[in-house]
């Protein structure tokens, strides 16, 4: 027997408050066998996890995010007999938080994971259990409108101009290596919608050394606070080359990218953890000299 959870919506992406419609699809059913119930469970949860890199003795000492359920529902469909080899069992789930909670977006991080999962089980008597296969659980993607938009914040885009020159470098290293350069540009905003794109531009106005590459990196910072202290983990979630080689002086080069799904989410401040984002503009010169300019971002849905 083959069983599968099938959603009406192909991209498995839902917005808070929506109904998740789907069905359990059965093929090669063991005809004649009875099942007592068909249970469809839906769970949304936050789960902390030890960083892959830190597994070891110290691990237990580090602060962790306590597990938290965001939503939960169970639908029990009445029992019956498998009468045909192909059968479907429709279900509807309301995507609503449990009381006292609000929904967060699906997210897979280093320390923190937020997931929404549908599971389904045929309840049968012990003696026929081996003839029944239950479908694999199915994770859905949840998006929460306006999430990240904290109080007093608007969606209005306020450009963030910038100017990078030797003078603006905080930590110039060996001074003799510092090339003479001036890069001007602008981020379209400091607040970006995840459904939209990241935007901005830069122009290399002057540079005494050839530029080898310019990259735009999205950095995610997870911070977890506990009684033992706070840990902060920065992860590069996307790095795009936006200039390859010594670009023409004065040419406006776009800072354009799409936000990677699931690895980004709205900027989140939750009880004991935070998920924040930054972009780095990394300018690499031919001689290996490198400058990084960091911009904090606020991501909203």
């Amino acid at each position: 027997m083959k069983a599968e959870i099938v959603l009406e919506r192909n991209n498995k992406t839902f917005t808070a408050g929506e109904q998740i419609r789907g069905h359990i699809s059965i093929e090669d059913a063991p005809i004649g066998i009875q099942y007592n119930n068909l249970i469809v469970n839906f769970d949304g949860y936050i789960r902390g996890q030890a960083s892959v890199k830190n597994v070891g003795a110290l691990d237990s000492l580090l602060p962790q995010v306590p597990p938290q359920t965001l939503c939960k529902s169970t639908e029990t469909l009445p029992g019956g007999t498998f009468t045909e080899s192909k059968m479907i069992f429709p279900f509807v789930i309301n995507l609503v938080p449990i009381e006292g909670q609000f929904l967060l977006e699906t997210y897979i991080g280093v320390y923190i994971t937020i997931q929404y999962e549908i599971k389904s089980v045929f309840v049968v008597s012990e003696n026929v259990k081996n003839r029944i296969n239950n479908p694999n659980s199915l994770k859905i993607v949840v998006q929460v409108p306006d999430l990240g938009l904290s109080e007093g914040m608007t969606r209005e885009k306020v450009p963030v101009p910038f100017n990078i020159s030797p003078a603006s470098i905080e930590n110039p290293g060996k001074l003799s290596n510092v090339p003479n350069f001036r890069i001007v540009g602008e981020l379209a905003s400091s607040v970006f919608e995840l459904n939209g794109d990241f935007n901005g531009w830069l122009s290399v106005m002057e540079s005494s050394k050839g530029i080898k590459s310019i990259e735009l990196q999205v950095i995610r910072i997870e911070s977890i606070t506990s009684n033992d202290g706070t840990i902060k983990e920065a992860t590069e979630v996307q790095s795009l080359q936006i200039a390859d080689g010594n670009v023409r002086k004065g040419a406006q080069i776009p800072l354009f990218m799409l936000f990677p799904r699931q690895f980004t989410c709205p900027t989140t401040f939750y009880k004991k953890f935070r998920i924040e984002f930054e972009v780095n503009l990394v300018i690499l010169f031919f001689d290996g000299y490198q400058i990084t300019k960091n911009f904090p971002l606020h991501l909203i849905r």
Partner: protein, 864 residues
Amino acid sequence: MDINTWTIRKRNYHLETVKATIAAKPSTEHPLSGNSKKQTVEFIDPLGLNSKRKQTREDILLSPKEDPLEYWAVLSKMTSEKYQSTTGFKITTDSQENEEVKVVQHAFSRMELLEAPSKHKSNEISYVSHKEFITHIETLTRELDQAWGINDRVKTLKLAIQATKMLKDVTDPAYYPSVFITITNMLEHFGDLVYQRLMNIAFDGKTDEIFLPTQVNELARDTATNWFLKISCIRELQPRIFIEMALLKCYRFLWIDKYPEVLGRLVSQIRGIGNPMMAAYASMFLAKQAINLSMNSRQYLNDLIEDVCENLVLAPPEQYEVSTPALEWVFYCVAYGSSRDLLFQILEKLASAIEKQPDILRALIEEFPGRHITSQMSLFIDKMNSIRIPAESLKVAVALARAVYDSPQDQDSLPLLSTLWSAIERNGHTDINLYLKAADVFFQIYLKQFGPKEVNGLLDSVLALLKKNGTGRDWSGSLANIMNVLIVHSKDLSALLSLESFLSFLDEFSIQKKSEICNKIVEHYAREEIKFTVSNPLMIHALFQVTRVVHDSIDISEHSPEFVDRVSRLICRFLKNLNFGRNLEQHLSVLTDARASFINLDVVTETLVYAVLDIAMRAYRLVGGKHNLKTHAFLKACISYAHITTPSLESPVTQFKLFVLGSQVALMNGLLGEAESQIKAAISLIGELATEDNLAEIEPSLHALIGQMVILPDNPASTSGFFLPAHGLLNTLTALNKRFEKIKYRAFISMLWYLSSQAQSRLPFRLFRVDSNDKLMSGNKKFKEDMITLLGLILEELLNFVAEFGEISSPDEETIDILIKFYLALSKIFEAPEGSQVAILLIRIGNLLKDKKVSQKYLALVSN
């Protein structure tokens, strides 16, 4: 039998002719008109003349620009051929991750997973030849197809990324274009795969190309979105934008209205490519992909060309050179379907770039429609004149010339063209080949628009420049192109040959090349009808030069008989078209020259003899048969020309015919000795003709010859007897092998008729101002005796034939025919009173025929 007892009938030839004449009635119908009309309709030119003509034109013109796809095909082929490398290519199959870029140490990027090559070890570099490189790409494409086939989309994308990365690995800029073409072909293939898959998802592959995003189902939309999300996180710039460009048309599954925005973004993203050449080619690919979308908005193209130009200004010369195909393509896309106003906007925007790199102006002029360029010709000429580097100025001038060629011109364009040409001449020395290319275009324009005077002026100017700039370098390729233009674009051969400097131009070529060219001229015009008559001495001279070169280059063993034949025919056609009006002497002298020039071609020699006989008769008509001293001498010259020339022909058949004709012309013009000697010459050929078994071919001429002897006068004062040609003929015929006896007997019968005519007081016909034997020999006893003797000899031969006939059990029709002819001749020529020898002979022949059971229709002839 004693022939002397036989009496020759008195005959009134005039009356007989009148009686025998059948009254002719005018007919309204052409007997051959049947279904000839139908046939004309169905006629298919077996030589494909028209298409051939077109092809030659295309050779000269530039690439086809009406259709972008066609143009791309030509351009890409040219590009990859031109920049094909012979030496090594570097293939790097690494992931080229820049370790130092990772600032954040505990990085986790799934793009690294995506970009890591699945099998190859990092930094595996191999050097391969261009061919091997292509094979490598083909292998990648195959792998891509396989991966696609098993639904491994991640691997497919990886392979596409891997291929695109190779663009960056090209070490020598000279190889870049061909690598670019190969790789973008693969990318386009990838784009097609994705597009087709989406079509299948959306419409089961059923719908046509035109659909709206709203018609697309959710699954196809999601799939398309996923593709673009995947692409958007490709780490390296070039693979990211190249693959997005390859998938541009797949955006149509999501929306239709955002192309201007996306294209605008891609244009600006290309700015991130620091290498001007690579940026130019990326732009080329973008323009290529975008032009397929058939969008109205063109803003992105205007921005694109600006970027390309500003980048290329910074490029080192060798990179610039390699980038020109890309530059030209982008210009082409900008120009495609554009307006005149746009041209000026662009020109203004690019002004500073053009100042730094004048070649940009050249590319612009070449790619915009000629009519837009020429509408502001003076502006462009100003721009051209402001270029300080002569070589660059020359290139621009050439481009302008092409623009003029591509747009409608009229007589008014001459001054502008002159300005342009003087600029070209001024700077021509910097690059002779380019100069010659310009000349090439100018010739095309001039030949189309102006007269021979201008064309010749141009030719002189080219020759002068070539002379001034020394020889020793090889321009023959370009010169040959110009020659080709002259040949193909001249209205006809006369137009070409009447160019005064044509021969000097021809002399610029090496001997071998010259003969090639002359052959080409001959080949080209041999196909055409010659509708003009040749009389201009200059032209005749040129014509002779050309045809002589061809003639001299003919090696019968090397050239196909068809070719020799074609050349011969062409020369013959010239000769037939010579026309000097009343100046026949000049005509004769040309024919004499021609004879000296074309000794190797029998057909030509034959034609020359015909031509000379023709002008002889023209002279006859001019004087109305009354020759004066001068025309008499001219005639003599003509006849001896014919007489001397004829024996040089190889074929005795032709010789025989020409001698007969020559003798007729001579006789007609009262040149009796000449007539007789040609008749004799003809007769003397009979032996040879028999040996070569060609006798049957000349039989009609032989009878004509005998017929002509009727009016050929004998010399009354002859001491060596009369009927000398007839005697000669008799002897020759008698000596023939038995297998020619039928021809012989028929000739004898003709001779019977001829000889009997000599006994009449009035011949059946006469020539104006030529006294024949009826006047000259009237009452000459010796003459009559000789005639009777000769007649006897012939009759004897024929009687032998009759005897032989009796022996044959079943004679064939031809033999019967001869006997009947003899019967008819006997009964007509001689009196046959009852009981006479003739009468008995006639009865015997009649009985013979009855005995042999000859059919009634023959017997009917005899019984009268």
